[in-house]
């Protein structure tokens, strides 16, 4: 009995929604009498089986057992194929028209016909709902909210045979309208026609709408992002049918927050994929999936590179670290062999002479000595041995080098990187970097792009500054 109860609940839900729809459609026109009438009809509307419809001209309330059977039959039948339903529906309705017409004139006939129509529509929706339940169970939005709109089941059922159902609806509307002869019937027919028109707009949608297309319902929350595309299209049309309940949405757009969030999320992902594409060297752009694979490989490659580099740097690190430590401990350290007070003067003279001829040779001479040129302000700032060096030279940083056989290597970027925020705080306790050689950064790293270019630039910029002083340990 489990499925039965569920289906009956769905039935009730379907009945409820259709009741609301019809109510609203008939709000202006019909009086309270008709509402009661509708209530009566729909409240007692049984989920009846096809064979029962054939037999009974207007059977209102078959017993529960028959209902159960009917449900199961319906379930089986609907499970078979969607496209049979419309034909069957058409045939059934025609039968009922024929049988219902002469069976009872006036109210009775109208009642029967209307009831039949409602039954058919409800059954159809319910049947579709069952199907959709089977299909789209995971969305979790099934259950009561599954029957957001009448359109979708109809469109599902008659993607190919739209004409039949349209004829059916027309016939139903006509019959209902003709026999009732009342405003209510007209309004009902009107709503039917309205739905039919909306339905007409749908047959182009070849994509079988999954059950998530709950005319604006929230069921699609669990659905993946891509579902919202067809859902949006359906919701656009479906939302128009009960106009007073939901905001009128543009075709192809959905107003429910979940699909909007989905769309935003997809856009964000797309833009990030694009950024990643530009980053990774080999930009194929063929397929997002392959692009992701490239990205994964690239990150793996970079990590491997770090690993290999860390293995190979050991010797260099060995050279750097103790020298740096020496610098700090000795203060004016010096592995500088040619250190001497007069040596400094001589050097300066040499440098001055060289600078007249060629900057490059001057620089090379300095490098050979393990010295460098820097503005006086910088030298004073450095020698003051403060941790927070913010020289006015806002260079992004020299490259650096360690001449292992000469002097300690210490990066000027410590001081240069004034803008690096907290980075400067990590400057070691030995800021007495009186010696810098930027040789390798300038010369070797030619292909290294920015850093080296900067190195040379800043070097030259330093030279061009007002004061130049040669500092040495």
């Amino acid at each position: 009995m489990q499925p039965t109860t569920r289906e009956m609940q769905a039935m009730a839900a379907a009945g409820q929604i259709s009741l609301d729809d019809l109510r609203e459609a008939a709000a202006g026109a019909a009086g309270g009498v008709h509402d009661d009438f509708l209530d009566q009809m729909l409240g007692g509307l049984p989920p009846s089986a096809w064979p029962e419809l054939a037999s009974a001209a207007g059977g209102k309330a078959p017993d529960g057992g028959a209902q159960a059977e009917g449900m199961q039959h319906q379930a089986q039948h609907f499970g078979g194929g969607l496209y049979d339903e419309s034909a069957l529906l058409a045939s059934r309705l025609r039968q009922h028209q024929i049988s219902g017409g002469p069976a009872g004139g006036g109210g009775g006939g109208a009642e029967a016909a209307k009831q039949m129509v409602l039954q058919q529509l409800a059954d159809l929706r319910q049947g579709h709902h069952m199907l959709l339940q089977g299909m789209g169970r995971s969305t979790g939005g099934g259950g009561g909210s599954g029957d957001g709109g009448l359109l979708l089941p109809l469109s599902l059922g008659s993607g190919g045979s739209g004409g039949d159902v349209q004829a059916l609806l027309k016939a139903a509307a006509n019959s209902a309208g003709g026999e009732a002869g009342g405003v209510f019937g007209g309004s009902f027919a009107g709503s039917l026609q309205q739905q039919q028109q909306h339905f007409q707009s749908h047959p182009q949608q070849t994509a079988p709408l999954p059950g998530q297309g709950f005319g604006g319902g929230d069921g699609g929350a669990g659905a993946s992002g891509g579902v919202s595309q067809p859902q949006a299209g359906a919701a656009g049309g479906g939302a128009a049918a009960p106009p007073r309940q939901r905001v009128r949405a543009r075709r192809g757009q959905a107003t429910d927050p979940h699909s909007i969030a989905e769309r935003l999320r997809r856009e964000r992902i797309a833009e990030r994929m694009k950024a990643l594409q530009e980053l990774v060297p080999n930009a194929n752009k063929t397929d997002k999936a392959s692009m992701l694979d490239e990205i994964i490989d690239y990150v793996k490659f970079l990590q491997l590179q770090v690993k290999v580099l860390s293995m190979s740097r050991l010797g260099g690190a060995a050279a750097v670290a103790p020298l740096v430590a020496d610098m700090s401990s000795e203060g004016r350290g010096g592995a500088a062999a040619a250190a001497g007070s007069d040596g400094l003067a001589v050097t300066e003279q040499q440098v001055a002479k060289l600078m007249e001829e060629d900057m490059g040779t001057a620089m090379q001479y300095l490098q050979g000595k393990g010295l460098c040129l820097m503005p006086v302000s910088l030298a004073s700032a450095i020698s003051s041995a403060t941790c927070h060096m913010r020289p006015p030279v806002g260079e992004p940083g020299l490259g650096f080098a360690a001449a292992a056989h000469h002097m300690a290597a210490m990066r000027l970027a410590h001081g240069m990187n004034g803008g690096a925020g907290s980075g400067a705080d990590a400057v070691p306790a030995s800021p007495s970097m009186s010696v810098l050689t930027a040789q390798s950064a300038m010369n070797n790293g030619a292909g290294d792009g920015g850093a080296d270019g900067e190195g040379s630039h800043s070097q030259q910029q330093q030279h061009s500054k007002d004061a130049a002083s040669v500092s040495k340990p």
């Binding site: 990774v280 770090v306 090379q364 992004p396």
Partner: protein, 218 residues
């Protein structure tokens, strides 16, 4: 379900992931880390692998501290480093960096991200997440309609790839949202490139031939 703002656009002290300042910061931190860590002191007689690990730790610490605490992977990396340091022979100052990074956004970071440092915990969490995601995906019956409408996102970020990305990017385990995962990957890739560049520069510098450029002028 909204993604966090893209990390790569955030500026930390005027420094984003792709700038040159960032690279220099990495260099500086690397040198400091190498010095402090004593990774190069041959007196200790470390084996090759130990040295490599030490240097790599210093490099990762440099990267994380240079990048700051803004991106999620940075915090996760710092946490990993600090936790691995506890089990080592002597705690170094990398742990300080790591703590500095980890403590700052401690409130903002998800609590689950903190307890992921231990490998056992990590494996368990990864397994749980895999199972959960598998169950979630399997529970959705792939009928024709649903399968076709599964969407570009699902197709692209197939489970395999998302899992691979999560394993590679530090802190990826805690990222259920694929949008943030992609953003983190982007930022991490840029930072890794900067780290590699910095290390290559250092290496090239240290190994550079010293003298062929010098011409005796006098």
């Amino acid at each position: 379900m909204s993604c966090s703002p893209p990390c790569s656009s955030s500026l930390v002290g005027g420094m984003s992931a792709g700038s040159k300042k960032f690279r220099h910061a990495i260099l500086k931190n690397l040198l400091l880390g190498l010095r402090k860590g004593g990774a190069a002191s041959s007196s200790r007689g470390m084996s090759l692998h130990e040295r490599r690990d030490a240097v790599r730790h210093a490099a990762d610490a440099a990267l994380a501290s240079a990048r700051g605490a803004t991106p999620r992977w940075s915090r996760a990396l710092a946490a990993e480093l600090s936790s691995s340091q506890h089990g080592r022979r002597r705690p170094t100052s990398w742990a300080d960096d790591a703590h500095h990074l980890v403590d700052v956004p401690a409130t903002s970071a998800r609590p689950s991200g903190q307890c992921k440092s231990s490998p056992a915990c990590k494996m368990v969490m990864a397994g749980c997440k895999k199972m959960i995601s598998r169950r979630r995906l399997r529970a959705r019956p792939k009928s024709r309609a649903t399968a076709r409408a599964a969407g570009a996102v699902a197709r692209v970020m197939a489970r395999r790839r998302a899992r691979a990305l999560r394993e590679m990017v530090p802190g990826g385990r805690g990222m259920v949202d694929e949008c943030t995962l992609l953003g983190e990957t982007l930022d991490y890739a840029v930072s890794l490139k900067a780290q590699v560049d910095a290390m290559q520069l250092l290496l090239r510098t240290l190994q550079a031939p010293k003298n062929p450029l010098l011409k005796p002028q006098q």
